[in-house]
């Protein structure tokens, strides 16, 4: 029988099936961080259950870390305690940890792929909904709750019902200035925030085939924003070339063997999906969001739609926007380039390319936060930091930062922030903050102009 990419990987990881119930799914890699793991460690400790496979777990500190002066002791007591607990839990249980200051430290979904930990055909989980990022490599990767973190600690398995399959196909040629972020924001704006719930999504079509690995990660990252627990893209030469020679990638003949296996993974030509959506690349433009969920997005050239629904109205009221209006020329005082969606080297290249020779607008506070120590080092090595410095921007140290504002990087009440992150929920970037999601290009342009501009005019 024909199988999808998802079917092939899932079926190979099923340990057992409960009659009329869930399946026991084996997990190859378990990524953990400081916020969603402590209660799981406690749970096992209280029940005297050992960690079953510590060598299949990799930890990093990211959600709650400062993005300046990382060499100094952390001032916030609770944050400090959480990070210390992670270090202790990892050392007590022989788990590899890339803690603050380590050369491999970074946002969990930036760190694992760049080290070659993420590989096609794997099952991967993390107590973080953006674990879908790793699906860019043709892996089954999804976010889990802390009870499930404890389950994987105890057994390297999870009890799950196999989700339904969904395929989103985008074919054609993307217009100038349309980045992977715009593609996924466009898809979510068309499908809404819950059309993917209960499904695992495969992205197909030449738009994704032609995308870099980093672009694919941006797309898969936001799968959860349409409700899909995971997103994935078939592994191909782009994938293999990206993985080759990375720190934890298989080497020599092992690598060749793996590639031969990875080549068997793409969905069979006649594989059937439970749901399909098809979009035309030509229809996509640079995107911005105007509301309080990622599905509330428009092309930068469009106006905010009119909807007679109380939740919609509540959302616009929070954002202080009016239906029927345009976001162009809206003054913006905060810009954030970072997060597990857009904090990789290509994102900073895009930003630097636009910013070069220009100056940051005086009204704008801009935070450029690399996804990892390795990205930070590359930004410096490629001379991008100099471009940012000369233009009046501040390059900070790696972490999740203003994406969820757990640390001090908070947007003040009532202020708008054009952000390359993944969620524009109420208060997501700080109490009362108003988030406008966009690509690194739109964010960079906003920072230079001090307002939202029609980027398509500048490019043509």
């Amino acid at each position: 029988m024909s199988k999808t990419l998802f079917d092939k990987i899932w079926d190979q990881h099923v340990v057992d099936t409960i009659k009329e119930g869930p399946q026991v799914l084996y997990i190859d890699k378990h990524l953990i961080h400081e916020v969603t793991s402590p209660q799981a460690f406690n749970e096992l400790k209280e029940r005297s259950i050992p960690i079953f496979r510590p060598n299949q777990i990799v930890a990093t500190a990211d959600h709650n870390t400062p993005t300046i002066n990382q060499h100094l002791p952390i001032k916030d007591k609770l944050s400090k305690n959480q990070l210390e607990q992670l270090s202790k839990n990892c050392s007590d249980n022989n788990i590899t940890l890339y803690e603050l200051g380590h050369k491999y430290n970074g946002i969990v979904h930036v760190m694992a792929p760049e080290l070659g930990i993420t590989q096609p055909g794997m099952t991967m989980v993390c107590g973080d909904s953006h674990t879908s990022t790793h699906g860019a490599f043709g892996a089954i990767a999804f976010g889990i709750g802390t009870s499930q973190v404890a389950q994987v600690f105890a057994s390297q398995c999870l009890l799950l019902k196999k989700p339904k399959s969904l395929r989103v196909t985008v074919n054609g040629k993307l217009k100038k200035g349309v980045l992977p972020k715009d593609v996924i924001l466009y898809i979510i704006s068309k499908l809404g925030t819950n059309s993917g719930t209960g499904y695992f999504c495969e992205y197909a079509g030449n738009v994704f085939e032609n995308m870099s690995m980093e672009g694919r990660m941006t797309v898969c990252n936001m799968s959860i924003e349409m409700g899909a627990r995971g997103g994935m893209i078939a592994p191909d030469e782009t994938t293999f070339n990206y993985i080759k020679d990375r720190q934890f990638a298989p080497k020599g003949t092992d690598f060749d063997k793996k590639v031969a296996y990875w080549k068997t993974l793409p969905s069979d030509i006649d594989a059937v999906f439970d749901q399909e959506y098809i979009f035309d690349a030509e229809d996509i433009g640079p995107m911005v969001t105007y509301g309080t969920n990622p599905g509330m997005g428009i092309k930068i050239t469009e106006t905010i739609p009119k909807e007679n629904n109380s939740s919609f109205k509540k959302s616009l009221e929070y954002m202080n926007f009016e239906a029927g209006s345009s976001l162009i020329d809206k003054q913006i005082n905060y810009v954030f380039i970072g997060s597990c969606t857009n904090s990789r080297i290509e994102d900073f290249r895009v930003a630097a390319n636009f910013i070069k020779g220009k100056q940051k607008a005086e009204n704008v506070t801009a935070w450029l936060v690399p996804g990892s120590k390795q990205v930070e080092a590359q930004i410096i090595e490629e001379g991008l930091k100099e471009i940012f410095d000369n233009a009046g921007f501040e390059l900070r140290q790696p972490g999740c930062s203003a994406c969820l504002a757990m640390n001090d990087d908070k947007i003040p009440k009532g202020e708008y922030c054009v952000s390359t992150s993944n969620r524009n929920f109420e208060g997501r970037q700080g109490q009362g903050s108003r988030t406008i999601l966009a690509s690194p290009l739109v964010a960079a342009a906003t920072a230079v102009e001090g307002k939202i501009i029609d980027i398509t005019k500048q490019l043509n």
Binding site: V15, D16, E20, G21, P22, V24, Y26, V35, T36, P38, Q39, N42, R47, F52, H63, N64, L78, S79, N81, Q82, D128, S129, G143, I144, G145, T146, S147, Q148, A150, Q151, A154, S155, Q156, C157, L158, L159, K161, P163, T193, N194, T197, G198, I224, G227, R229, N293, N309, S311, K314, L404, A405, M406, K413, R423, F425, E426, G427, R428, Q431, G432
Partner: protein
């Protein structure tokens, strides 16, 4: 995990769609390393303003409404995977969340904490919301064994779906770890066979 069979309770209406887990428990409260205390901050930024003043318009602060059942708008629990959202709702005293649709990860997290995510049809949700708004003292009955939700003193009811395995877990207070540990030999055999 606490056992769950049936409850009869008044309900709190929250007629907002797409309630994300950032609203249920904002990120700044995720610094704790145990599961306790999150209930105090459930829906923090809707219940209180930045200066800590109570927002009396918000239904959880409205003395007319009480009970361990929350009736919420479509697509409840979307966004972040934080199980702290389930801990916060349980900590506040909720035992059942009724909605016409639940986000995937939240649903699993709720079930793993003895909190029943009860999905009803959009039309029954409207009936529930209207009933509670008009008559806040109305009691709602939830029977997990029979998989029925009904409105007291009326003949209005609906059956609901739940995974049979999860139903057994809820009724008996079992969690998945117990089950998975019982499969250890099978898991080890699976590992050996894959090598």
């Amino acid at each position: 995990m606490e056992k769950f069979t049936k409850i009869t309770s008044k309900a709190v209406p929250l007629a907002i769609e797409n309630i994300d887990t950032d609203q249920i428990i904002p990120a700044r409260f995720l610094k704790a390393t145990d599961k306790k205390g999150f209930g105090d901050n459930v829906f923090r930024d809707w219940r209180f303003d930045k200066n800590g003043n109570t927002n009396t318009a918000f239904s959880l602060n409205n003395s007319l409404y009480s009970g361990s059942i929350l009736i919420a708008g479509d697509n409840f629990g979307c966004g972040s995977s934080r199980e702290h959202a389930a801990w916060a709702l349980v900590g506040y005293g909720f035992k059942v969340i009724v909605s016409s649709f639940f986000a995937d990860i939240f649903k699993g997290n709720a079930l793993n904490n003895g909190l029943l995510p009860l999905q009803v049809s959009p039309s029954f949700l409207t009936i529930l919301m209207d009933t509670i708004h008009k008559k806040p003292e109305t009691e709602i009955l939830v029977d997990l064994e029979k998989q029925i939700i009904s409105i007291a003193d009326t003949n209005l009811f609906e059956t609901f779906e739940i995974d049979p395995y999860k139903k057994t877990c809820m009724i008996n207070g079992y969690d998945d770890i117990d089950y998975l540990l019982s499969k250890k030999e099978m898991i080890e055999a699976f590992e050996t066979q894959r090598k």
